[in-house]
């Protein structure tokens, strides 16, 4: 049997195994999950043959599975992030109920993603897409919070996206008679203009929805923050990347086969708008999970912009950011989860001062935040740099400004996250908080290490991206281990950067610490100078509510009307309409009989038009 099919079967098998294991007892289930976390990536890395293809015909539709390098790149994200998240989940979900369902859905969503990335035809793509969607839906409503609102919203939007794709798929099938991706791309040039637009835009809509692009992002904040954090890292890190994956190949192939650049430009614009608005929203969140959720949307906005621009460098940047985003958002959601589990909440107005209680979590978050903010010398900078350069090279100055605005504003929420949870006053109610278990911290730290390495040697990721881009039609993509170059030949040498920053850092570290730090002693955060007043221990000196109030005042005109409101009102209106419609069923049998006669008469009267005799 083909290794691809075996891979799918292994994941499905582990899903069932974990489910039944957990229904027997917790230990058995956990062993199964751990085995899954180890064996699935092991199999993928060692046994899966990436050149293999499996094709079969079902229900008259030809289907084919097989990796290409582009899919492999995204698979890499899935196969590295998911096992880490699974291991993290073993710690995170230790005391939860219904863990069987959790791991079952978790593994099934991995199956969905794996399948998407090896699909070479629309049908299997769609099947796996839907599997991914419903399994993630189960996880979104897993905690039972907001089932109606968030859960339904997620499902509705996912369904809208998926069905847009579905519609595109059947139209493609009608026009090409085939379901293969390649046939579509090759035949694209011969389509009529309407079909080009319809299929292209529908596909883009479907994928863009999963990557939470602005007008259709409203599912994301709730879904990301309601899901158990163990899964959210995968949700935001890997699952939303499936949208990016799709956008990538659709946009590129459409560009290559028909000059539809403006579609990409629109997409890029939407991405930029998303980035700005989502960042603004993130700034004013008080729940760390919500903050991260909005931040994810914003980050995906960058990625979508990169993909939408469609130049070599911008796609390179988009893909690189996608990889990095998976890593740092993975860490951050895991950290938020760790805080939630250890301190009981992620509300930044309540939780405070955990840095000394949870140093490892803090360290991982710090690294991730630096990467997220794009500050050198960590990996995030590399992506940001490439994105800016590609935009500037392309002359999209407004977009550059928007992205800049977004990433500058991102410092605000980055800081808020760290400050809100870890820094600030150390309140007595969090006296007994302990560091999370190693099962949770180790995955975070591993990802942090990855982020640090990519700061100087992004080439380890570039390698795969360059391979992947050959499948998008960009052959001979230049990359170097640690030198970034833009289209105008300007470059940044990351080794120099890291080296100089490192040297300066070490020099001053020695200067400051030598004969210094050791001799000082720790004093409580209540022991601060406060305009000459003495602070009593019970005084609440935490400043965390309305953290960016002035900024909120500035942005009030933009943010006062949320997009969600429009959707809600739309939903209510539709509901009222439906309520009106169902009055047709009055409950009176005579009325129904009346309908029958009316229907009959209408048909009789219009029989000439209907039958055309």
């Amino acid at each position: 049997m083909s290794s691809l099919v075996i891979l799918i079967l292994i994941i499905a098998g582990f899903a069932l195994l974990s489910y039944f294991g957990h229904s027997i007892n917790k230990t058995a289930g956990n062993i199964a999950v751990f085995a899954a976390a180890v064996l699935i990536p092991l199999y993928w890395f060692t046994r899966v043959d990436f050149s293999e293809t499996v094709s079969f015909t079902i229900s008259g539709f030809q289907m084919e599975l097989g990796y290409n390098m582009y899919g492999k790149l995204f698979s890499l994200i899935v196969m590295i992030l998911s096992p880490l998240a699974l291991i993290y989940a073993l710690g995170y979900m230790k005391d939860s109920k219904r863990t069987g369902t959790f791991y079952f859905s978790f593994l099934f969503s991995i199956l969905g993603m794996t399948g998407i990335l090896m699909s070479r035809d629309f049908i299997s793509l769609f099947i796996f897409w839907e599997i991914m969607t419903w399994s993630s839906y189960l996880l979104v409503i897993f905690l039972g919070k907001d089932v109606e609102k968030t859960g339904i919203r997620y499902m509705v939007f996912s369904a809208l996206g998926a069905y847009a794709m579905f519609m595109a798929i059947v139209i493609i099938h009608r026009n090409t008679g085939s379901m293969m991706l390649n046939d579509y791309f090759n035949a694209f040039g011969n389509f009529s203009t309407g079909t080009k637009f319809l299929t292209g835009i529908l596909l883009m809509f479907g994928f863009a929805l999963k990557s939470a692009v602005m007008p259709v992002h409203v599912w994301a904040p709730g879904a990301y923050s309601n899901t158990p954090m163990a899964y959210t890292s995968v949700f935001s890190g890997a699952l939303s990347k499936m949208g990016v994956y799709g956008l990538g190949f659709v946009v590129i192939n459409l560009f290559a086969h028909a000059n539809l650049h403006f579609a990409g430009t629109i997409l890029a614009w939407l991405g930029a708008v998303t980035a700005v608005l989502a960042t603004f929203s993130a700034i004013f969140q008080d729940d760390a999970k919500k903050l991260l959720a909005y931040s994810s949307i914003a980050q995906l906005g960058y990625i979508v912009t990169g993909i939408g621009i469609g130049t070599e460098l911008s796609i390179f940047a988009g893909l690189y950011l996608a990889v990095l985003h998976a890593a740092f958002k993975g860490v951050l959601f895991m950290a938020a989860g760790a805080v939630e589990r250890q301190a009981g909440s992620t509300d930044m107005t309540e939780v405070t001062g955990l840095i000394r209680k949870m140093p490892l979590t803090f360290f991982a978050s710090l690294v991730a935040i630096i990467a997220l903010a794009g500050v050198p010398p960590l990996g995030g900078f590399v992506g940001k740099w490439m994105l800016y350069e590609s935009l500037i090279n392309n002359g999209n100055f407004l977009m550059v400004i928007m992205i800049f605005l977004s990433s500058t504003a991102a410092f605000l929420y980055s800081y808020k996250f760290l400050f809100g949870l870890f820094l600030g006053q150390e309140e007595p109610e969090f006296e007994n908080v302990k560091e999370a278990s190693p099962l949770m911290t180790i995955p975070m730290l591993l990802l942090s290490v990855f982020l640090m390495i990519t700061g100087s040697f992004p080439g380890i990721v570039f390698k795969y991206i360059a391979e992947g881009m050959t499948d998008l039609g960009f052959h001979d993509v230049n990359w170097q281990m640690s030198v970034l170059t833009n289209a105008w030949g300007d470059s940044v040498n990351l080794q120099h950067v890291t080296l100089s920053i490192g040297v300066v850092f070490v020099v001053f570290l020695i200067f400051l610490t030598w004969k210094g730090y050791k001799k000082t002693y720790y004093v409580s955060t209540k022991d601060i100078s406060s305009s000459g007043e003495v602070i009593k221990p019970e005084d609440n000196m935490t400043y965390s509510t309305d953290f960016y109030k002035p900024f909120e005042r500035v942005l009030h005109p933009i943010l006062k009307r949320k997009i969600e409101k429009y959707y809600d009102e739309f939903g209510e209106g539709i509901g009222a309409l439906f309520d009106f419609m169902r009055r047709i069923y009055t409950g009176n049998g005579q009325t129904y009989a009346f309908y029958v006669i009316v229907f009959l008469v209408i048909l009789l009267v219009f029989s000439k038009n209907i039958f055309g005799y």
Partner: protein
Amino acid sequence: MTDPVYFIAIPLLTAFLLPLFGKIYKPLIGIIPGLVFAFTAYISFDLYFNLEPGKPVIVQMAGWAPPWGINLVFGEFSGLIVSLITFLAFLVWVYSYNFKKVGFDNSKKYFTLLMLMVAGSIGVVLTGDIFNMFVFLEITAISSYGLTAFYKGRDSAEAAFKFLLIGSLSSTFILLAILLLYKQTGTLNMAEIAIKSQAIDPKIKSIIAILFFVGFGIEAEMFPLNGWVPDAYSQAPGPVAASFASILAKSGIYALIRVFYTVLDVEGIFNLLLTAGLLTIIFAEFTAMRQTRLRRMLAYSSIGQMGLIMVAFSFNTKAGVFAGLFLMFNHAVIKTLLFLASGFLTYSTKQKKIRDLDGFGKIMPFTSLMFGLGAFAIVGLPPFSGFWGKLNMLTATADSNLYLVIALILVVAVVEIIYYFKVIGRLYFRERHEDVNIQKPTWNAVLAMSILALVIIGVGLYPDFITDYLAKATNELFDKAGYIKHVLPSLSLN
């Protein structure tokens, strides 16, 4: 031992004798119908799988060749539907075998009515005579009235009365149409009518078509003729509602298809069917979304599915018919599962409201799982069988260049997702606050539901289990000349 006549004769014989068996030994009343269902299922499969390609089994009644005698046609199309009906009927029996314990006694009448309804539906599907079809339709209808009003208390009589009222109108119209047809052609045999109908004055033919359309449309749950459906489905016991969805509605739509594909050649009817189907989908699904009672919601959803099937058949293309058959299969299997599961879910709640189901996932894990599975399948999520139906449906729609219809179907599918997932959310992800005394599913109900679930998953994972048969059935339906040739070897389509 395999003659299509047995489909009718054996259930009727048993129905007549059942009261006597009841006098001998009470449980026989439950067991004998089961044997009959098993037997019909066996012969339908036996006949169906031994069918020679392109050669339907045709039996004549009373030794008279078709135009003069009544004939039964067990072809690839009708055979498929009959097999489906008998299979599901058997499962419904398995499910309700000792349903007595959980709600209704008087099982003598229940099984008799159920058996006759099944026999009637099979008759509708098999018969080659238009008036005979009417007779069987009436058998189906009257037994359905009885089954609807079966439960005492509640509002079952109200539901049944509405059903009867509309059903009577339906039979009036069908009878009128048959009379007009007879007047125009002088025959009642469908094959012969098919030949002769070409000569009918188009104006009269259109009136006949409209009368048939309205008459069968009532049975096929077409909007705006479906006022009876939600009431009947919600008031009848779970297995009855299941058999309505899987058997009654199927025979209605079969009649519609048979008449318009084989008997009358009126082109315009397909656009009408398309319009009616779309209206049905829209009104049913949108109404379903605002339902607070589980069974009523399922009923509206069922109407919506029927609308979808009508749309599929309205394309008048092979792809459309194939998709329609696939949808019929899905609807029959999945809706049956949903209704069967809902029978136990709503048993313990007074109001039968959806919000009473909070946290049932933990209390009734198996039933809830079955319901969830059914919901996943019916909204067309892979890897369940519903997906393939929807896929084929949409490709067929696209092949007919009806892009707007695709969009509409998909929007409606989103609505479907909303209301089904609301229920799932309540079942699984809500905490239960007050205690209920629940009815655990009996072993036979578990068996029936498991089989259905296995079919759903099996077909979902590998749809080619059934696609060949569907394709064959499609070809047969389109082979009008072949049908006439087999039924009336001496005549042919000119």
